[in-house]
């Protein structure tokens, strides 16, 4: 009985979505007037190269126009890491789960991982430093860095992220992000407001505070994701607690 109700619900939802999106033509221009913007999309496309001198307009939106969302987003990730630590791994209570689960990997994998690891880190750093010029940015770069650490964590049983250093980096990056926002508040009167000397379009140093904030985000996301992976790998499933 419950099954059929659920099927009915899913069918109704699918039909509703299909009907609704038929009224929203695919590929139609919904940005509004580009010269005198009346919709936010047009405004962002106009202001991002003109006022902010930021080539990647998505970065301009994420970090500046809607920077408050991004602050919230970083916080969500931080809280997820905190919640994960509180639910899964409590150093003080679960001493027996210190050990990480890893398979024994062959020397080929180990050597390859050792070579790849610095390169992956470099790629991650490249991606978040060039977040305002090319596709990518803090979140993407942070995710790449975390994959590098994941590779090391599953290859080497003895590899350990320096937990202390991670906590420091993560906290300091978060504080620096908020502090940059406060700098805008105290200097220009609005939280996260950008500096006026923003450089020229498509230079590495352009967009004012945007690259700086994206670097903080990159560090923070990288350390947070590494932390989450570390915690998830550290527990032994199946063991009674």
């Amino acid at each position: 009985m419950k099954r059929y109700i659920i099927f009915l619900f899913i069918a109704v939802l699918g039909w509703t979505l299909a009907q609704t999106f038929r009224a929203i033509p695919f590929g139609a221009d919904r940005r509004g007037n580009l010269d005198q913007p009346d919709r936010v999309a047009a405004f962002y496309l106009k202001e991002s190269p003109e006022t902010l001198q930021t080539a990647n307009s998505i970065t301009a939106i994420v970090v500046n126009f809607r920077g408050f969302d991004t602050l919230g987003e970083v916080t969500v990730l931080f809280l997820a890491a905190t919640g994960l630590a509180s639910i899964l791994y409590r150093k003080e209570e679960d001493d027996e789960t210190e050990e990480r689960i890893t398979l024994i990997s062959s020397s080929l994998v180990r050597t390859g991982a050792k070579i790849l690891f610095p390169l992956i880190l470099l790629l991650g750093i490249y991606v978040f430093i060039h977040g305002h010029l090319t596709p990518g940015g803090g979140f993407q770069g942070g995710a790449i860095i975390a994959t590098g650490f994941l590779l090391m964590l599953i290859t080497y049983k003895r590899f350990d992220t320096n937990h202390n250093l991670m906590v420091w980096l993560e906290s300091l990056a978060g504080l620096a992000f908020v502090a940059t926002g406060l700098y805008g508040l105290f200097t220009y009167g609005s939280f996260l407001q950008n500096t006026h000397s923003v450089g020229t379009l498509n230079d590495l140093i352009s967009g004012g505070l945007i690259p700086l904030i994206y670097i903080f985000i990159g560090i923070k996301v990288g350390t947070e994701l590494t932390n989450i992976l570390d915690i998830l790998l550290k527990i032994k499933p199946g063991k009674q607690s």
Binding site: L13, L34, S57, I61, G72, L84, L88, L133
Partner: protein, 130 residues
């Protein structure tokens, strides 16, 4: 570019069906997994599939016929009229990160439940009433 434009106009209905249809099908499949599957990890996978569908819808809605990425790289400084809507892409970035955080938390709860019950079958876990 022109060729692509012609092709797009010619097969517009098909492309629309493909993009929207995929996204809506993903949402439906995910919902099916969440509501009817018995295995906890499958439920979490279902949540991720729903998220993927919603994100695809976002990006699809932002697309503009033959539009390019909204990046003003050298040579494209004045090409704003050819660029797709950047806002849904920025929103999707936020939504993806939030979806990731929720998935990680869900998996941690699954691990907890597995530790207590030694099973991931939801039928054998229901000790709390709905």
């Amino acid at each position: 570019m022109n060729e692509f434009n012609e092709l797009f106009i010619k097969y517009k209905d098909l492309i629309t069906l493909a993009v929207y249809g995929t996204a809506i099908m993903l949402i439906i499949i995910g919902l099916y997994a969440v509501l009817l599957k018995k295995h906890l990890v499958k439920i979490v996978i279902g949540l991720s599939i729903i998220d993927a569908g919603v994100h695809l819808l976002f990006v699809a809605v932002g697309y503009i016929q033959t539009g390019t990425a909204p990046i003003f790289s050298p040579g494209y400084e004045n090409a704003a009229d050819k660029m797709v809507d950047p806002v849904p892409q920025a929103l999707v970035l936020t939504a993806i990160v939030i979806g990731f955080a929720v998935t990680a938390l869900a998996l941690s709860l699954v691990i907890r439940l597995y530790k207590h019950h030694h099973t991931a079958n939801i039928e054998q876990i229901k000790s709390l009433k709905w």
